[in-house]
Amino acid sequence: MNAIDGTDRHIKSTDGPPPSLLTIILDTNPFAWAHLSSILPLSSVVANLLVFINAHLASGNANEVAVIASHNKRTAWLYPTPAPVSAHNTNGDSSSRNGAATHTQNANKYQPFAEVETNLLFNLDNLLKTTTSDDLSTTTTQIAGALSTALSYISKSTIRHSPVDPTLLESHALVIDDGNLTSQRVNLVSRILVLSVSGDLASQYIPVMNAIFAAQRQRIPIDILKLAGDTVLLQQACDATGGIYMAPESPQGLLQYLMMAFLPDATARKWLVLPSAGSVDFRAACFCHRNVVDIGFVCSVCLSIFCSPNLPDSTCLTCSSVLSLGGAITAAPALIPRKKKKRKRVAGDGSTPGGSATPLPGNGTPVHP
């Protein structure tokens, strides 16, 4: 009797929707927002975003949210609030964090909503206040840093949420090669939403690509809501990780876009028809001029992409190795000389073909003891 009850309860407990972590990266590039201010001021975006966050928190008891600002020269946590650094303070950790959160204790507001709101507004305010004119020297945003921070945060949260004892887990992983553990774990379902307003991310090509690749490995979809500007990289991020890319024509309806397209998490998305970007631009940015190219020339040593084969001194600009251009045009003609040589070789040497002849024109010197 007990056994029957126990199994029933067990199945039910694992059946519920898994907790979902939504990480929002808010691009706070002042230049882009100044440009957008007539259509969509930052204040209304933040208001809409808070409604969206509340909707996310309300859709599941265990749901979590994290907000990161990708500013001009740095990234900043908007929620949760990081503890300020101060040496020799024994209890500063908890007190200072409450310092930001205890601004309002409104009885009419659901506590988690209020906490997110006060923290987010406090930190955003703080961020904008500490932005000096020196910071405004660059016009791009630190999207790579924000993505990296978000991914590390998600990875840590996933570890924290895995209900399986790590000791048990590793013995399973090592000794038995099977996937039956998956059924026992209720993993955190995470996703990243980027509210992007600035274009031209070619300077952060490699770190963004690393982040995309990491997200792909961890199966974290990256959703992009593109309010202004245009980047090839973020579109690729969506495509590689299975996220949603949206560039709304009228940004005024931001809240509706957020609610309709980005609220369902990965569990719900299986059942929905998602907005798709259709054809995706997969072109790469060349390393020499940051041009976006569709036929490029790639250094075989360091894989740098160049837009033209006419490099100065025919050396690679990144790794300065001397590059021959022969392979750049076509590799096909190599076929005919190969066949001729092979026959010669076989005729010349019996059981160990090619023992004497050096097969290719520029081959390695024999190292003989």
């Binding site: 740095r74 990234t75 900043a76 990081p82 503890a83 300020p84 650094v85 101060s86 950790d93 990296s148 921070t149 590390s152 945060y153 990875s155 840590k156 895995s162 790590p166 000791t167 887990l169 590793e170 013995s171 992983a173 090592l174 090669d177 099977d178 090509y205 995309i212 990491a214 490995r217 199966r219 054809s279 997969f282 072109r283 940015a285 490029g296 790639v298 250094c299 075989s300 040593v301 360091c302 894989l303 992409i305 084969p309 690679c316 190795s321 750049a328 045009i329 190599a334 092979k342 160990t352 073909p353 023992g355 050096t358 097969p359 520029g362 081959n363 390695g364 010197t365 190292v367 003989h368």
Partner: protein, 560 residues
Amino acid sequence: MADSDGEYIEASDDEYMGGGGSYGTRGHGKGKKGQRGDGRAKNAWELSAKTGLESYKESADGTIGKSIQEREEERKRKRWLVNTMLDAVKMPRRRRSVDLSIYERDPEPGIDYTMLPSLPYRTVSDPPVPRAVLLRKWLRKDTKAFQRGIIRHVVLVLDLSEAMLEKDMRPNRYFTMIKYTQEYVREFFEQNPISQMCVMGMHDGICIRVSELSGNPADHISAIQGLRDPKSSTSKEPKGSPSLQNALEVSRATLYHTPSHGTREVILVLGALLTLDPGDIHKTIKSCVQDRIRVSIIGMGGRMHICTEIVSRTNSGDESGYVVATDQELLRELLLATTTPPVIRSSVPTTDGAAAPAESGASLLQMGFPSRVIEDVPTLCACHGNLTRGGYTCSRCKAKVCSLPATCPGCHLTLILSTHLARSYHHLFPLRNWIEVSWQRAREKGSKQCMSCLSDFPEPPSSHTENAAESLTSAANGAVAAATSHIIAANGRQRSGDDSNEDELATASESFRYECRECKSHFCIDCDVFCHEVLHNCPGCLGGAGTRNDEESADTEMNG
């Protein structure tokens, strides 16, 4: 140790039962396959011990029946598990559990482990240190920016001789090898998307070709699966003796026409302790050296002189390519270690001056970065001739191909995604290792939370209690580990600016903080592993923490 041994036996039995049960349900769905698997399995494992046999049978045919998709998922999960495992090893408080899994993992009755040669790997006298060191080394090895051969041409030679029926790996070497090589092929192409591979087998004195040289992992995996699937025509039972000479000759012929800008590698998994050659293997070695083929060998059981010679001669004196797997985890680790692209050596100046510069053979390759199209009407693809609705159009001739990376069937342009290239960037621009942080340094910085995941660090102890705390830690960690870590931490503090201590033994940090040398941010161990293993970015450096360090107050720096 003795009582933990007993515990572990019980635990592992439970695991096996659990594993068998879950696969039992799967087995019903695919009954035919399952029966076949059983029948075949009997040949191989007749003599094996009773414990755990059931579950292994089940898991074996489960593996056969699994689709590639499932395998992919499993693989990804496992990678994650390994990550968490690494983490567990580095955290001193979890060390004990690691010891159990590594050192007392073979409770199988019927095998007398005292008969095995006493390798340092298996000694239990001082368990935590060697294992942690091994893993840390594995994590920390490629931090220097070497020139690496990114475009690789690899022949993977598997031993299919009767030595593979040995049961020192379970269920036996052959099945273990087949299982891990499938995983290996996936990982290889994930790490080296623009490389080519070919799989061969040494079977009954000759070298057979399992799959052709190609860049498609699915081909290789299905071919390797076909080796052990009794239904397929290419099925091979391990038989006879291996021949290293034949294997090298066939590999050399396969790699002969590969372009000079790529590497030519042979990776041999050798279970036997003999080689049955038709001629003089030294001639073959010499011609391999001439064709600049690099051989690395993963042996089993013991070392062989001829293997040492092959590896050292083809790798210009470096013998590190010859390793011996003493158990199956080590085999897996050693296999996966070869997914990292090999270091390119500068050409040796010789009397024959003409040949030297061409060794590196760098060249500029023309590649297309096609865009994906989605069509309303299905059209024929140029690669298979199937009707498909979408695909990638060649940037030069507009032919449509189904998947990337590929060579355009129309104009022979190499078509890849820029993401494929980007996957290799972290080999070329590796993230520098983060250093351990002493309590003193932690107090100086006053860091309370991990920079990227905001998890709390433990408070640094006040100065006068520090000594007491340290002695406590050392008691917990095992004296050797703590002492080493203390020394290393001290060294790191003194010389944190320079590169000289990169190769040093890396151990767990006493303050649970790890510091990036560039931006001086502090991170937790989980983020350390994640950033170096998966992300290859430093959130602190990219987040602008380094630039603000000098000018701003500590408060804004942590926010930033």
